[in-house]
């Protein structure tokens, strides 16, 4: 078995009194492309946000390559949900991608030529180079998603967390994004994706975690992506026809 990239122990998160995540133990091996699936309100986004320290858990700990997350931030990149920001903000596509370099720059230091070059390269990877000077409100939903992806790529991290990157994008963007994710996996990166479309799980991902407040199952798609786990996660008698 390969190295463990992300290890979550006893993670419990609650908004007010109701637990959103209950006692999650999770080990994500290095180099997998993993989907987190579960019904609405299962805590998928919450799981990512608590791993990244955006939300404060009631209990539990997260380690990245065996060390606490706080010391390993440089190894982790995050792609938030597209709808989490105001796209009418006065800035350009290139500027948003440049933000990916801010973490390695630290306080006060301004991005320079090196950072700009990295940002342009990332824009090219997502096929958005010609839109670099475009005001971000004039981008389509799919293009905005690609910009967010490019911003994470600039961080040159080892582990990528993505919150519903396929939400509201058209088929061609979806293919472009999944190709980038597969390229990341090929380069040895670990990619964790909150995903909604169960039909595409076997095609896109090699690892899957079923989540519904508690962790239902986690492992290789070919072993555990079955009606039994789907039914346990979604509550109803779920029959998804998996291509044999």
């Amino acid at each position: 078995m390969s190295k463990i990239a992300v290890k979550v122990d006893d993670l419990t998160v609650a908004y007010n009194y109701k637990p959103v995540l209950w006692d999650i133990d999770l080990e994500i091996p290095e180099g997998v492309l993993m989907a987190i699936v579960g019904p609405n309100g299962a805590g998928k986004s919450t799981l990512i946000k608590s791993i990244l320290g955006i939300l404060k858990p009631i209990a539990g700990s997260v380690s990245i390559y065996g060390k606490p997350y706080d010391k390993q931030r440089q190894k982790v990149a995050y792609v938030p949900q597209k709808g989490s920001v105001d796209w009418d903000f006065p800035t350009t596509a290139l500027d948003v991608v440049m933000m990916g370099t801010y973490g390695s720059l630290g306080w006060i230091k301004r991005p320079g030529q090196k950072e700009k070059k990295a940002a342009l390269e990332a824009l090219e990877k997502v096929g958005m180079l010609s839109f670099k000077s475009r005001q971000i409100s004039q981008l389509s939903g799919g293009q905005q998603q690609r910009i967010f992806l490019a911003r994470a790529l600039v961080q040159n991290a080892a582990i990528y967390f993505m919150d519903e990157p396929f939400q509201g994008v058209d088929a061609s963007t979806e293919i472009a994004i999944i190709n980038i994710l597969k390229a990341l996996r090929k380069a040895g990166k670990t990619v964790i994706v909150v995903h909604h479309d169960l039909q595409t799980v076997p095609e896109y991902f090699d690892w899957v975690t079923f989540l519904n407040v508690k962790k239902i199952a986690t492992g290789p798609v070919k072993d555990i992506f079955n009606d039994d786990n789907l039914t346990k996660t979604y509550g109803i008698n779920y029959k998804v026809s998996i291509q044999e």
């Binding site: 990244l52 320290g53 995050y78 903000f89 948003v96 801010y102 973490g103 006060i108």
Partner: protein, 375 residues
């Protein structure tokens, strides 16, 4: 006093120069920080802060018994900060939304401040007169030391903004992401908010508690219309704010008995109005013009396409047809036909029309383009 006389006086008259300089600096710093407030969707925060400052002014007077403006402003600063952090506390610790928290703190602090003001007015202390000028402000009371205070605070504010520009920008755009990059978002947030409070408190003497939030919002709202770059927006907002201060002071000084604060706010309002209407990319006027133009172009294209469909059925594309046929087509007007003739796409002979070769080509290209974009 008319305007030319006023301009002469600005350079010679000490008091007028002080006031003009003071309102200009005030407009610049509030415009600058107001951009951040507007982009954070905290427009109402300024209103709450300025109202929350009132009890601080009254309490500072009750303790010291003096009307020294710096002392009173420190009182305002403290109670403004308390109000602000209570708002944040309410939002993060309870289920209440920020608009409720803002409204609550605004009215509670303002009510308490008014209570203290009336209490002070009933006191035998002869010094108490004029404390209520903080409600609507009185620029005439500005003295040189006040302007120095404003200039120094503005300078510090500018320095901090330049140093932490990158941090401010990313926090404004995407706070969660900023956290994952390892920045302490709370520190940045407190920094921005504290400067907003400071700028508001500085303006209380000039513009007053009630109108202060307009100084924060109006220049920023106007500036947003003209640019899609954050740095240009902040710069423009500072410029609009400064000009509002200067023009406002000029108007109120040249017309007797117009109080300066409200005039400055109205001038800032004029900037907003002009920006909303005349901004090239976001303004109402040009948007309407573009809308009408696009619709005309489309009408023209549709008419041409309709003619093309008819012409296509004939071997000779320039086969003449009765104008009457066009009446079957919705969106056809005599105007569009005339335009097509001007473009040499269509020929008119009597009450018959025929497509020219040029028109036929243009129409078929139109078709191809349409099909391409459909794919």
């Amino acid at each position: 006093m008319d305007i030319t006389e006023y301009i002469k006086l600005v350079f010679t008259d000490y008091t007028l120069r002080t006031i003009t300089l003071g309102t200009a600096i005030l407009g610049a710093v509030t415009g600058m920080l107001g951009s951040f407030a507007v982009l954070r969707k905290q427009s109402l925060l300024g209103d709450a802060i300025s109202h929350a400052a009132l009890p601080g002014i009254a309490i500072a007077f009750l303790i010291t018994g003096a009307k020294d403006s710096n002392t009173l402003l420190i009182g305002a600063l403290i109670s403004g900060l308390i109000g602000t952090f209570w708002i944040r506390g309410i939002v993060s610790k309870t289920h209440l939304k920020s608009d409720t928290a803002l409204g609550l703190i605004l009215s509670l602090f303002f009510g308490f401040g008014m209570l203290l003001l009336t209490f002070i007015q009933k006191q035998p202390n002869a010094n108490q007169a004029g404390l209520d000028k903080y409600l609507f402000g009185q620029a005439a009371t500005l003295v040189e030391s006040d302007v120095w205070t404003m200039a120094i605070v503005t300078g510090i504010c500018l320095l901090v903004m330049l140093l932490f520009w990158k941090e401010f920008k990313i926090l404004l755009f995407d706070a969660d992401y900023t956290k994952t990059l390892g920045f302490n978002t709370k520190t940045i947030d407190v920094l921005i908010t504290s400067f907003i409070v400071l700028a508001i408190v500085l303006g209380l003497q000039t513009v007053g508690v009630v109108l202060m939030s307009a100084m924060l919002l109006a220049p920023a709202a106007a500036a947003r219309q003209w640019t899609n770059s954050l740095s240009v927006m902040v710069f423009l907002a500072a410029l609009f704010g400064a000009f509002s201060g200067v023009f406002g002071t000029a108007i109120s000084a040249s017309q007797n008995n117009l109080s300066t604060g409200p005039v400055i706010v109205l001038v800032a309002g004029v900037f907003v109005l002009i920006s909303f209407i005349f901004s090239p990319s976001r303004g109402l006027l040009f948007r309407q013009i573009r809308f009408v133009k696009n619709r005309r172009d489309l009408e023209l294209h549709k008419t041409l396409a309709f003619m093309y469909n008819i012409a296509e059925t004939h071997e000779n594309v320039s086969h003449p047809h009765a104008i009457k046929i066009l009446n079957n087509f919705q969106g056809y007007t005599k105007g569009t036909l005339q335009k097509l003739v001007e473009k040499d796409y269509v020929k008119l002979t009597g009450n018959m029309w025929s497509l020219t070769a040029k028109g036929f080509n243009a129409a078929s290209n139109l078709y191809n383009q349409q099909n391409e974009t459909d794919e």
